[in-house]
């Protein structure tokens, strides 16, 4: 699995103020698989996820050292261009945050920024991505309605479609189903499974059953360190480390 790492994290340290959030993280994330990051609250799993698209660049007093290679390119290199890096990754946050515009414009937002202007092209992108996320039949008659009118589950799928519209290679999910009802949750989970044919997917989740349902590999993070990394079944059913065992059994949370 390390033959073709899509993302390779090498000795990544993240510090905010005097607090070490991530300590010497090194890991290779395989291509076109679903990888779940699990761990107790505050262990650094969201920071690890966001370090992949540099979304905490603006956080005060943050210090990052180490390398994150995406397609062999270090995204923390001094000459790395951040919008180009982010375009490669679709982010699905905890709650859906539709942009304050219509359904259509939400999807067209990314492509427009990256230079697609032709109406016909945009129309096609919008239709393709809404179909990819199963929203097309639900919204095709009201593409110009504000995105905030959708149900929260629909909004989250819209946000996924919006991310896919910039043709990323990687999808990052930060507890993406935590605000959703069970039905919407399972729709999103199924989408992840379907999308891994084309994308590398990294998810943060605190629901072990979800990690088991959707992921091929699991990373267990505790106190800013990677304790264990391996295929899902192995980590969950036969963990090598005592800490992992305690966590998956529910002793530490």
């Amino acid at each position: 699995m390390t033959h073709n790492p899509h993302i390779s994290i090498q000795h990544l340290n993240v510090q905010i103020g005097n607090q070490e959030i991530l300590k010497d993280i090194s890991i290779n994330i395989p291509n076109k698989k679903v990888v779940s990051i699990i761990g107790p609250s505050g262990c650094g799993k969201t920071t690890l996820l966001k370090s992949l698209n540099r979304l905490f660049d603006d956080t005060a007093d943050i210090k990052v050292s180490g390398k994150v290679l995406v397609d062999g390119e270090d995204i923390y290199a001094p000459d790395a261009e951040v919008t180009h890096i982010r375009k490669k990754m679709g982010l699905l946050s905890q709650r859906p945050y539709p942009l304050p515009m219509s359904i259509y414009d939400n999807i067209a937002y990314g492509p427009r920024i990256h230079g697609t202007r032709k109406k016909a092209e945009l129309d096609e992108i919008v239709e393709t991505q809404l179909k990819a996320t199963g929203l097309w039949n639900e919204v095709k008659d009201r593409l110009n309605a504000p995105a905030t009118r959708l149900s929260i589950g629909q909004q989250q799928r819209l946000c996924l479609a919006r991310g896919l519209a910039v043709e990323p290679e990687i999808i990052l999910g930060d507890e993406s189903t935590s605000a959703l009802d069970p039905v919407s949750t399972s729709i999103i989970e199924d989408l992840f499974i379907k999308l891994k044919e084309k994308y590398t997917i990294v998810l943060v989740t605190h629901i072990l059953r979800q990690a088991r349902r959707v992921s091929d590999y699991i990373i267990f993070v505790y106190m800013g360190e990677i304790i264990e990394f391996g295929p899902t079944e192995e980590v969950l059913l036969d963990p090598k480390q005592e800490l992992t065992r305690e966590y998956v059994k529910g002793y530490i949370s």
Binding site: S93, Y97, I113, V166
Partner: protein, 298 residues
Amino acid sequence: MTSLRLLKDKVYAKIMLIFTILSVAVVLVIGIGLYLKSVPVLNKISLYTLLTSSVWKPLKGLFGFFPFIMGTLWVTAIAIIIALPLCLLTSFFITEYAPNQLRKILVPFVNLLSGIPPVIFGVWGVLFIVPLIQDHIAPHFVEFSTGYSVLAGGIVLAVMIFPLIVSIVCEVLNTIPKDLKDASLALGATKWETIRKVSLRKAKPGIIAATVLAVSRAFGETIAVLMVCGNNADVPHSVFDPGYPLPALIANNYGEILSIPMYDSALMFAAFLLFIIILLFNVISRIILARLERKLAL
């Protein structure tokens, strides 16, 4: 015991209601009072003439308020046109770009600006803005200007309403969820694109509300404007012409030559007019705001 607590709750609710009504009633009382005081002049001269005539000859009993209305509108419009872009850029810089330490210096500085008494702005206008316009700006556009002009008034006013708009807009921008901005950034948008297409849109109702407040204040601002505006009872035709806004008219003349018949009543009408302009402006902007909010479905 319980009934006493419930009774207390009811009593306090009633007391609060009464005080609220009292303070709101002040507005009504002022409006009615001003109207009653301006009845004599309204009885003598038709409302239409009062509003549209440009002849201001109190000694002959001719009161045309058109120059003063236009003076007020010119000064306020210039102030907003200058202040709004500056305020938006400043607010975006403070909330989105400024490093923490700089922000900690900038915010109190902006607030300090709102604490400076208007008369000091007036002096600054006379000593700095008026000569600047007279010597360096006006000569490029018109043959002669004393510098005492609606432009001077507008600039001074713009500086005065600046802290008000900036502090409200900053508050509004701070309420925009970080995750929403992140959603845009994560798609590869730059900060500026995010501001222009997401934050600005989301903050629009708040920005309009801040502008309304600032305009209302600008309409009524008296002393600083009076000091730099030239106070000439003619309709201004360019930004370099002097103007005579309504508050300046009242402040300059009230209590001085009240022996002239109807003068007192005419000044009260000026106050009433100002009151109505501000009221109308607020009502209209409320309607626009409500429509906008419904459209955006925030």
